[in-house]
Symmetry: C2
Amino acid sequence: MHLLVDVLGIESGGKPIVFLNNSDAGEIGVTASGRVSLRAKKEITAIVNISTRTVKKGHIGISEEVRQLLGRTPQKIDVEISAFPKSLQFIRNKLEGRKLLKDEVFEIVKGVVDGTLNESEIASFVTALHIRGLDLDEATSLSQSMVETGNQLNLQNKVIVDKHSIGGVPGDKTTLLVVPIVAAAGLVIPKTSSRAITSAAGTADRAESLMPVTLSAAEMKKTIKKTNGCIVWGGALDLAPADDIFVKTEYSLYIDPLLLPSIMSKKKAVGATHVVLDIPTGRGAKVKTINEADHLAKDLIELGRRLKMHTHCVLSYGEQPVGHSIGPALEAKEALEVIMNEINVPDLVDKACKISGAIFEITGHKNGYAMAQEILRSGRAEKKLRQIIAAQGGNPMVRPRDIPIGSETIRLKAKNDGKLLWINNSSIVEIARMAGAPKDRGAGIVFNKKIGDNISKDDVIFTVYAEKSRKLSRTEDLIEQLNPVGIGKRTDMIIHMVTEIPEIKRSFVLER
Amino acid sequence: MHLLVDVLGIESGGKPIVFLNNSDAGEIGVTASGRVSLRAKKEITAIVNISTRTVKKGHIGISEEVRQLLGRTPQKIDVEISAFPKSLQFIRNKLEGRKLLKDEVFEIVKGVVDGTLNESEIASFVTALHIRGLDLDEATSLSQSMVETGNQLNLQNKVIVDKHSIGGVPGDKTTLLVVPIVAAAGLVIPKTSSRAITSAAGTADRAESLMPVTLSAAEMKKTIKKTNGCIVWGGALDLAPADDIFVKTEYSLYIDPLLLPSIMSKKKAVGATHVVLDIPTGRGAKVKTINEADHLAKDLIELGRRLKMHTHCVLSYGEQPVGHSIGPALEAKEALEVIMNEINVPDLVDKACKISGAIFEITGHKNGYAMAQEILRSGRAEKKLRQIIAAQGGNPMVRPRDIPIGSETIRLKAKNDGKLLWINNSSIVEIARMAGAPKDRGAGIVFNKKIGDNISKDDVIFTVYAEKSRKLSRTEDLIEQLNPVGIGKRTDMIIHMVTEIPEIKRSFVLER
């Protein structure tokens, strides 16, 4: 059926959407959320919205996404109901509990990326993966398909290393130290990172306080050629783009069945040959127990093997923030001070050197930890970081005090003497986000005390920074409500209460 | 955060949707598909779309749905991130396999109806119900919640009867006979029907060839008061509106876990006290085996008991179309001819009298079948139908030849002698839909032969009717491809082949 094209000037968040008049939709035989084929010079598939008033009979309203896919906008376009997509048949198979083969997984991932599958169908697939589970064959197929449906970096180096954290622990600026340490030793590390989704800062957010991180693939390659390393935002590179779509659905549903393929596809897409994965472990982290973390590590290593990447995992202590600071600018500042050897943050330094050391050892070096320590202490890591900053277009002379921090502050003081017994990571993340992080880069939290420290009444436990006083005042209420730290005696026996009133969990660690 | 309101003039299919600029969304802390609270005079919840170009910073674009919910359109509106909805917590519980309690189910159904839950979340819930299953407690809660979140008819009669077919067999115009037969006997039958979703005609589509079916609740009540019965489209009455939303999702996913609550909530919403349900059974129907149908019947009866409706089920032969005709006008014509005793269609008459008889017997009458036959043969059923037509605003003098039928035809002729061994219902539905049904009311199929009939080469098996020659020509190809009927000897042993090439099932019986 031929319809006149109305450009609506509306964006639909990446999905190709068209608007049809009710009557034309009936004629074509399609319902809302159904699919039509649009045929002008190109043929594309779009998802249907039905509208009785916006679009007149005989017309079709197209979103910006559709306009771009069509290339030149035709006056008239041939619109027919789409054939039943094979990908949906395969999703239905998974719903029934059937294992998916590589070709079938590829068809689904392609449908996700090209917009053939609508939101409901993707949500159903993610739900089915969550309930039915996916085995390592399926995880491998998903990883490969996610790589194949996106860009790949194609560096020519024989050894390419990468690191990644499963996430879940606030203040984890380890990557800002690991990349320069590893690159300073001559290893190629094309590090891509994500922005925060549910956390207070992603590595891309942290790095952005030091340098531009939105680079093209060509600029990224140039940086690596010059310096061996980079710290860029992965979102602009279209590496494993299916993952970005899956993540949105997972976030909405508070589940993350695609954790493994998501992580490993991003590593494979940059061409990594050797990978070290950090699994922060503890009650406040994504992975709660060491046993659980060991199982996850085994799966990740096996998945790595199938994808032809040597993989080691590091289980790290995840019950409290890493270092003292949380929030993009505050974390960048702390990392810069540490790499300049201006301050000593023992847990951050230990973690960075252990992970760097693991990277050295998986690529055949000995005494990796000592090697990393030496590179950090000697100033070679700082020099390398400044080279990377310069190559990515930042100011290589940047000093910690140049990084703007929110000027509005409140402090949490101890109400009694004792020891700091615990810090609730998810409450800390909520507080930092309420204060404005990661959107307000200068917002966040700085801890004066960490678990095990002796506390006297009125000691400052942490300081909250915000850029806007409005956000700070609402943070104050939240702190009162959340009870984010525990101070007591070492002989206090009660861990916490579980009460009758169902507590709705507001925080969810999606970062990976 | 206060934003200026832009009325976009866009409808979003019932869901309250707003468009935010990327930067404002970040400031509010919400992502695409997230939820915001809009506070003007009223407070409502809306789902967020992110747009970088359509909506300027400091503005919020609102859909027609949101404009209507807000009442008067304010210039400025306070927009904040919504609290985490409890309903989503309960959906997550179901994902984990936990049984849902009444209050929890109600919260979810309310979230579906008021737009708090987005499409992905609803799809996830429907998927979880499909995979995890729902027990009769949950089915009861769902039925009750679906009734409570919609309108209810509130007739004052002590006995109110209703009938329903699980669906899946084409040509099933039984309701057009049952309602007048039952009403002629003095029973109150407030019949609401749906339009076709995946079939060639719904009862509302069929009835519409005889009379208006889009009545308000008040008009429906007036009709019933006058005539004891009605045949109206349920979609305009807002009875169990959650079901209409669930159906869309189910259709998209080709699953229907909500079958039982969907049927029973619609019956409860009209206030039925006695219900007879038809379960067409056979390989071409929704329910394939008698054993399966018996199980379903037991569940439906128990669900009825819990909802305080006396329920009987009728298992009927579902391997071929009921009567000879398929398509809205053709079926209306056949029903009218039968009720006028102009033609004899034994299977249709038997089914209509058996179901009417079951309704008579469940309300305490004896010899229900004979009673129904008598009402039909005597012309009292025809008289009652014409009263109902008049009361609903149609022409009570309507004759079969007044009903317009498509003038374009093709015929399927037998290629060999033999017996008609089988008719593939779903192929028949596909062919009728390809010819234009239900949108083109005069399109459809008329069978000359039925299963078991003797066939000679070149006998006409069926005739396809269409209103548009374009649709007829594409139907011809489809018939060739589908092989919709089997003619052979009674000693032919092969039922069908299952081959290597995966066959993608295009048809799906959602009607219920």
